[in-house]
Symmetry: C2
Amino acid sequence: MIADRMKVMLGASSAIRAMFEEGKKIAKIYGKENVYDFSLGNPSVPAPQKVKESFIDVIEHTDDITLHGYMNNSGFESVRESIAESINKKFGTAFSCKNIVMTVGAAGGLNVVLRAILNPDDEVIMIAPFFGEYLNYVANSFGKSVIVPPNPPTFQPDLEAFEKALTNRTKAVIINTPNNPTGVVYSEETLKKLSEILDKKSKENKQAIYLISDEPYRELAYDGVEVPYVTKYYANTIVGYSYSKSLSLPGERIGYLVIPDEAEDFENLASACNVATRILGFVNAPSLQQLVIQKCLDETSDISVYDKNRELLYNSLTEYGFECIKPQGAFYLFVKCPIDETQFVEKAKQLRLLLVGGKSFACEGYVRLAYCVSYDTVVNSLPQFKQLAKETLNK
Amino acid sequence: MIADRMKVMLGASSAIRAMFEEGKKIAKIYGKENVYDFSLGNPSVPAPQKVKESFIDVIEHTDDITLHGYMNNSGFESVRESIAESINKKFGTAFSCKNIVMTVGAAGGLNVVLRAILNPDDEVIMIAPFFGEYLNYVANSFGKSVIVPPNPPTFQPDLEAFEKALTNRTKAVIINTPNNPTGVVYSEETLKKLSEILDKKSKENKQAIYLISDEPYRELAYDGVEVPYVTKYYANTIVGYSYSKSLSLPGERIGYLVIPDEAEDFENLASACNVATRILGFVNAPSLQQLVIQKCLDETSDISVYDKNRELLYNSLTEYGFECIKPQGAFYLFVKCPIDETQFVEKAKQLRLLLVGGKSFACEGYVRLAYCVSYDTVVNSLPQFKQLAKETLNK
């Protein structure tokens, strides 16, 4: 007999699984190359060559006990120092190893920081559309999720609605920029205003509201757009980072948290993240992966591949009549459904296009396309999208 | 402002840290080689050569996208199949990949299964002495820990006390054999009786009580002692395994759960563990580590080193007059304090012997010695233990 709340989750999970199984069935009938799977955020670009070299180098030149042994739950000090220096060089900050906690990816990091700060029923604000797992992460640490409605067509946060959502129980806000699922990058202006609102409310509450900036897509930005470094705008920022997308290592589960000195209760906060890493059962980020990324801090996968997909897909879909904002980052396109979302997803599937409905991101009436696929997949999918437009637009 | 419950934990954590810092201070004064640190369960024996070879082999011969990409949250199917076959070969079971969930070490695995089964305030029984982190893992999933008192000097569970601890809210029992901190292996007789009690109570409750067998020390058994495979005695067993000790890979965070077909609600239970792996932020066990252990299923580190330490330490300490049971497994010795525990730990520290008090394992009046240290450390520590005996015995 499993837990009651797991039963609810299995229902949702089995819907996704059903989609996945149906995808496989279609692939069997039409051939795998004729199914256009835009449903998963799994990088299609291989890791840089330097990653492979570093794996070999670390394994061959590190003594076994250090390489595979336990270290401080927050990670190897030298790795954390190297990461701090790399951030400082890029963004003009002044972090050191004590500001960095190594995590089991960004998902691990978010769970760690939420466990560190949340008392039962503390409120955590998220701005729709957002990565649906945030709801689970907040629930894991006994918090309550509060959702700010989406603000189409720009998908910059509606700051008035945001301000209204804050209460004296608000303990944290999660933002994600470049955003999954819209690809939108929050502007410097947005971040400044958001910070002002948070400063004012923190003063009123006589307790800090932490701004948790989930940044797995930081390195995936196009057209030379700047992704502002959030700690510069708001003292109580905690950054969650992951190498899943920037180095194409999602299966390896490696990332980090940045906790600035200026954050309220800094010493305790850093210690609490250390303890949370242990008690949640992560214990530490995988040791080998820590030592490898230390050698790859200036590397990224070849994101020009995603950029090329983005241009073709955005230009084609808007030409066919679909509405969507041009993404400035990440590898997602968030398209408005001309008809009911569930029907649209179903019609797309009949055309062998696998998309994820906006409901999964608290934003009904949209679909997300993950364009971390081969360029050929994009090219070959276009006639299908054209057909989808024909069948659903102006109805 | 961190969470209230984290403040309590930071207090406990800073006591350990204080001990650690003091250890470093003593090391500075007397030299590192003159401090005898028996406090940590960090394997001192390097991983087998085959592990290193397998890391290189997997990195050089697996395509990047498979090697570093996402897979099913439960892990690579082929890895799970290989593990199932390896268990079947060793223990005559009949598992397949669907019975295995890859986890971020045993700590990750325990958190996953507890999340899968616990409703709020469900009771989880643990038999003292036990690894103190179990209390946190149960609390993470909103459960209540129920402690069965220790049963010295054999430390086989007191089955009468165990039966009394069961209620109609009992959802699970955690056992750990070979045991941390005693090194005791639960006998076949113990397991049979324990299973009978659980079968009876499950019937009475009209719902299964799951027996979670935490087995990171399974491979570390001495004098040819058999460690019974628990699924053979009780259908509703879930095994948690880790390669931290058997392959000396604690930092790499790799292990698995075994969920037998016979377990009540099997299909849902396996799916719930899959979902729990995702929502707790593990997402999946590190992909590279999964593929490496697949190639090392018949390997163990050289445990004869621990055995040698065990013999010398046990024989010497009992000769000096200390009381303890001879461990049959793991790499711990659990020694009775002749004086108050806190004072004993302090006196030991003054003699440069770093030990952990039994309170950390819900068993006051004892100390744990982790003998996963070099043989020289054991040899050189003996005069200090002799002195400790002189200062504390017959007082």
